[in-house]
Symmetry: C2
Subunit: 392 residues, 2 copies
Amino acid sequence: MKLPLGYKYAATYAGIRQVEKDDLALIVSGLPANAAAVFTQNRVQAAPVRLGRSHLKASKGLCGAVVINAGNANCATRSGDAVALATCKAAAKLLHLKVPLVVPSSTGVIGVELDPRKIIDALPRLVSGLSADGFDCVARAIMTTDLVPKTAFAEARLRRGAVRVAGMTKGSGMIQPMMATTLGFVMTDAVIPPTQLRVMLKRGVERSYNRISVDGDTSTNDTLLLLANGASEVRPDPGEFAMVEAAITDVMESLAQQIARDGEGARKLITITVTGAGDSEAAARMARAIANSPLVKTAIAGADPNWGRILSAAGNAGVTFDPKKTDIHMQGVKVCQGGLAAPFDEPELKAKLDAADCEIRVALGGKGKGEARFWTCDLTEGYIRINASYRT
Amino acid sequence: MKLPLGYKYAATYAGIRQVEKDDLALIVSGLPANAAAVFTQNRVQAAPVRLGRSHLKASKGLCGAVVINAGNANCATRSGDAVALATCKAAAKLLHLKVPLVVPSSTGVIGVELDPRKIIDALPRLVSGLSADGFDCVARAIMTTDLVPKTAFAEARLRRGAVRVAGMTKGSGMIQPMMATTLGFVMTDAVIPPTQLRVMLKRGVERSYNRISVDGDTSTNDTLLLLANGASEVRPDPGEFAMVEAAITDVMESLAQQIARDGEGARKLITITVTGAGDSEAAARMARAIANSPLVKTAIAGADPNWGRILSAAGNAGVTFDPKKTDIHMQGVKVCQGGLAAPFDEPELKAKLDAADCEIRVALGGKGKGEARFWTCDLTEGYIRINASYRT
């Protein structure tokens, strides 16, 4: 699949992280793009989150470049605001953009001062290295504890021509995005007015990034940025916006799933579906409670069809339901019917739960049409090993 | 310290759990005791929780005996209600009590039928084995994944004489009691009217069991029962009730701390104190958010003074505060001042964090007087090992 037109990418090693692995990246749109963004709901917000929000406001939703560093969250530091601003100023000067057209983004350790010289010194070689083919290099440069880069692509064939969507994201710990995400950058070359772009982002986030959790922790730096530069010169007909939105949502959903699958220490992606709730918000709340239960996550790690833990976690979601009407399926096998044990072949189901993809379906048997899907990962010793020694 | 007067205890192996280790226990008060209880807030409630609640209502808060089994939660089973009732009836007959004076209590795996014959067959030898010295045997019989039995004792010397309090509890996983706990039984021989007993229990729970979390999961069977049989014949003067309440709360606080310290896989007890919040409820909410952050818990496991994770977890509690005014101490060492890194000797602090007791203090610097203490444990590979293979 082809990348969206009109974007260039570059990545380099600026010496921010200790291992020599690209840690600074640049995404540039030839024509400033319409931009919509969501940021973390954590009360503690990193300097780049605050500055990014204020830049997008000042630019009235236009964005020409994104500067991203890994290895340091630029959060809870003395010089945080100054570093984020200096970064944007240096990039703006080199790219001949107004400063508010540059959005900064950081990920990594919290509370350690970030040396702006490292970024400013590296920016000229980043700019000279910009290329339409640099997409994958950027996707790799933004990784922290990720084991694999995470990208997704889609295309919508409209009456006036094709438009393309490409996205990249990072993250595998401190993952429970709330109204936003870890870092995610989604580019399209469709012509989309700012208002519609914001609506598409908001609805897409609800069905993707806001439906995953690795460990129930929400980061201080979560940012999801959606850019539409119109470089395809294809303006969707009114009836075609749904197709473009579907392509964007598909990319976001794929990215979100990739985060859950690559959760710290994870060996399995768990898809949780709740149906029959009063509304989709209640269904999502219950799915999230199941996804965040360490007892459910460790049971899946051990290929243990311990549905009692699923039912108990559901009971803790603060959602009204009747356990006596509740059915639970694991890997398509009914393990609980009407809140009671259903007969199943345990060795057979254990073998099925050894798969890289595990599925939990909870049907509440209520009259409500509320349903939700949610993704998480199993909880293994690997999560502990990574996080008992991440910083030091 | 002496045990409260007028209680007898017995435990035996009834064959409910697979390993031959006592799994059935009985606590009897010679004179039926005034009783107050709190139960799990989980929407999925075990049969003994439902029956215990209804019995205490029917008996107008009188309790003569408690029958407790480990190894099976008697939850989400076809025969659950019948088994709980049959248990109470059999015990009542042997003890010459009315049925509603018996409270049933179960802990263990969810969703597996519990054979009532095992309990009914074992009850006669339990009753004949009742003894004032059996307290520790019962404390051991109610254990599941606990490594150590958990008991606590207190005494209040009043004008008319001494009254004694003794408590026992169990639990090390599926622990985040909400308005209640895992299983806990607290006995006193003071003369306390039912209304006051309920108030003491409610206030005590708020400062003990509702301030601990091992893994953020709330069980389906949580029960905390407080019995006052008056066997000391000491009726506190109006001014002395506070002393009795303090003794009861001390016992409950000690029991709750012991649960956190013995959390599944835990090597450390973590005490989290939040001060300067708008009210104590907000302080407790933030302390709970920090206690439930797997990133904080793994950092403590790794003796890593990663205060950024503490600040980030605080930011996710949904509590209004100013990160720029927030100080954080770990083991008495200031690691964060005004939301920024404070200078500290890292190797020295890492060594201090190797202790079995770790302390995190978060001072919000607000004008509020709201403060709370909360207890949790570190998150280690041991938790995963235990829970990836608990059932099978």
